[in-house]
């Protein structure tokens, strides 16, 4: 992978040498992004340990401190000092929940990754259910907050609409995209690019690789500490993000086609307008209508510009490092029969 050398070095440096001396290969990583959640972190840690200890499996916890301004980092450190299964990822500044999740996913070392909110609204006691679902063959398991403890008007109704829309557009009908409690097969989720504000769309983004997705009902608690960090203003952003994910998931490998589809109606309109004015001029001798012909020319020219953008897109994709077959490989199922080559005895 063509990675700028200085970044590769940073990455190497940022991994402690003794990273996995203890707990050599945990089976489950629980990834929790924290942003100003100083009161939640200790109870959450205890709840996770309570939930996973009885399972008798190796597990680790990735606490991602997203540039908190309160005591979150200090308390996470205290916990890590007592428990080697806890790793703390420290951000220099607030990068947002997507980046926190992405960092947790990148640095986690287990084969099953569980993400959850740091605000105690998810219950770690549900995690074993998720692990069972992964074990039974699913690649992604998403939680569904069955009895959601949030405000109706500002939270529940917009989220209902958003979930319906996301399901329709992406073709991944999930009842509750906003629930952070999810489990992923690490091999499937790690290569999926997560950036910008995609944490709400991880299953949708992952649909590039067409994973097997299951939903399980989870408990949901009302917020105990701290402030909610969301508002209503995100609708415009959600719509645009959705559009981006849809186009990327379905067309990224064929930009020319995608721009061609945009250009087609314009080309059609333009040709019809131009043809109509020219024909009526030629056949009926009516004076050439400048505005109509002008519109036609504009449409045709714009269609050509779009096609050229598509060609530019092909160039971009060609030089980039995303390839569809890599995504296809993530979830492929293989069935082979190997016939030994018979060497004919002479």
């Amino acid at each position: 992978m063509a990675c700028p050398p200085e970044r590769r070095i940073m990455y190497l440096l940022s991994r402690p040498k003794a990273q996995a001396m203890y707990n050599a290969s945990p089976k489950v990583s629980v990834i929790v992004p924290f942003y100003n959640e100083q009161d939640s972190i200790a109870p959450l840690y205890e709840a996770i340990v309570r939930a996973l200890q009885p399972l008798q499996i190796g597990f680790e916890m990735m606490f991602v401190d997203d540039g908190s301004k309160d005591q979150t980092l200090a308390r996470a450190n205290q916990i890590a000092q007592r428990d080697s299964r806890v790793r703390v990822v420290k951000f220099r500044r607030n990068c947002g929940q997507t980046a926190a999740m992405a960092a947790g996913i990148e640095y986690a070392s287990a084969e099953i990754l569980v993400t959850m909110d740091g605000d105690l609204q998810n219950d770690p006691a549900d995690i074993p259910m998720f692990l069972d679902a992964i074990d039974s063959g699913y690649d992604i398991v998403v939680g569904w907050r069955h009895q959601r403890q949030d405000k109706l008007i500002s939270r529940k109704i917009p989220s209902r609409i958003a979930n319906w829309l996301i399901g329709k557009v992406t073709g991944v009908p999930i009842k509750d995209n906003g629930c952070s409690l999810k489990a992923f097969r690490a091999s499937v989720i790690k290569p999926i690019p997560l950036y910008s504000e995609m944490h709400r769309f991880i299953p949708a983004m992952a649909s590039i690789a067409a994973p097997r997705i299951a939903e399980v009902r989870v408990r949901h608690h009302a917020r105990r500490f701290g402030q909610s960090k969301y508002g209503l203003s995100r609708i415009y952003k959600v719509l645009l993000d959705l559009l981006v994910i849809k186009t990327l998931a379905s067309f990224a490998a064929r930009p020319l086609l995608w721009f061609g589809l945009l250009a087609a109606p314009l080309l059609l309109c333009g040709t019809v307008l131009l043809g109509y004015t020219l024909l009526s001029f030629a056949l009926n001798g009516t004076p050439l209508s400048l505005p109509l012909a002008g519109c036609g020319i504009i449409f045709v020219a714009s269609a050509f510009m779009l096609l050229c953008s598509g060609a530019l897109g092909e160039l971009v994709y060609n030089l980039g490092d995303m390839r569809d077959h890599e995504f296809a490989r993530l979830t492929q199922r293989l069935r082979t029969r190997i016939v030994p080559v018979e060497t004919k005895a002479q």
């Binding site: 200085e6 000092q81 080697s84 703390v88 420290k90 714009s302």
Partner: protein, 349 residues
């Protein structure tokens, strides 16, 4: 030929100077004062710090007068000087990065090639690095006419609006920063002026500190229109870089949707007039306008999608969380028995 010789010789010499803590990078562009005088001035300021330092002069394009002055300095002075001569003017950001590549100190100080700040204030910039990653100078109190003051207020006001950072003097060439800052930022184009903003965006602690303006830093006349265009472009760059680098469709989509909406409204108006008021449609120039605006909106939207494709195909290298640290205590072992017994209790229940 002699220039090249002295340069390589010097480059190899400084490899041994491991004790250097501060590297002072001076990009020499069009505007420069007498270099020997400037050097003596800065040197006095740096000596007060009592820390080993080096000077890295970067000649941005051929400046024979400066070169000869620097040659004389290199020959006569008993201190660390590197001189890098670039074959054409590459711009200040590139000059700084070139100097940075050859620098040895943990602390990088950039200083302008003319008397802009009082050299005695350099120490202040460096000492402020104890609690910050980047310290930029702010010439205060500042000389200048009313028009110039107004320009500065508008410029810094709009930068503050966009970034939420109240900066006062982006034009000040005196800055101090830790080495890692330039390692991560990789300045290009005209980004040297926006260093504080970009560093802040990367999560570095940035401070602005008041420095005394040099008596000789007087601004002659007014800026040319070209400079104003630069200022406006700076603000736009910041606007785009800070808000939309990772989500370009939000920017292009906003513009595109507005255009498209305007055009569609105009088309609708024309159609209503045609349908209900008998106004003819085909011979109205407004039709062309509406078509143009609609198409422009569409094109902008398409550009946004293209930009998203660029981000997507490079997503594996673009990380918001550059410089994230992982903290783990492998020797910590498992926590004391309290937790385990408690968990056994809950399991037994």
């Amino acid at each position: 030929m002699t220039e090249l010789g002295s340069m390589t010789e010097h480059g190899s010499m400084t490899e041994h100077n491991t004790g250097i803590r501060i590297s002072v990078i001076i990009p020499v562009g069009q505007r420069h004062s007498d270099i020997r005088e400037l050097y003596a001035d800065y040197r006095a300021g740096l000596d007060a710090l009592r820390t080993p330092y080096e000077f890295v002069f970067v000649l941005d394009g051929p400046h024979p007068d400066v070169m000869s002055g620097l040659d004389a300095l290199v020959d006569s002075e008993q201190s660390n000087i590197k001189v890098i001569a670039l074959n054409r003017p590459f711009g200040e950001s590139t000059a700084i990065m070139t100097g940075f590549e050859r620098s040895a100190g943990d602390v990088i100080v950039t200083l302008p090639a003319y008397h802009q700040i009082d050299a005695a204030e350099i120490g202040k910039l460096v000492t402020m690095l104890e609690v910050n990653d980047v310290v930029v100078g702010w010439r205060w109190p500042r000389a200048g006419g009313a028009l110039e003051r107004m320009r500065r207020t508008i410029f810094h006001g709009s930068v503050a609006r966009v970034t939420g950072m109240r900066l006062h003097d982006l034009g000040c060439g005196a800055r101090a920063m830790k080495r890692i800052v330039l390692q991560e930022l990789q300045l290009y184009g005209d980004q040297h002026r926006l260093l504080a903003v970009l560093a802040d965006r990367q999560g570095f602690r940035v401070a602005e500190v008041e420095v005394r303006q040099s008596d000789r830093d007087r601004f002659e006349g007014i800026h040319r229109p070209r400079e104003y265009a630069h200022f406006a472009l700076d603000v736009f760059t910041v606007f785009f870089l800070v808000r939309f680098t990772k989500k370009p469709l939000r920017f292009f989509g906003m513009l595109g949707a507005t255009m498209f909406g305007l055009g569609a409204a105009l088309v609708l108006y024309l159609i209503i007039e045609r349908a209900f008021f008998g106004q003819s449609l085909a011979d109205r120039p407004a039709l062309i306008l509406s078509a143009l605006v609609v198409v422009l909106g569409l094109q902008l939207f398409a550009l946004g999608l293209l930009a998203e494709l660029i981000i997507f195909t490079h997503a594996r290298h673009i990380k918001d969380y550059q410089g994230a640290q992982i903290i783990q205590y492998p020797q910590a072992g498992l926590p004391a028995a309290t937790l385990e017994t408690r968990s056994e209790k809950t399991a037994a229940r």
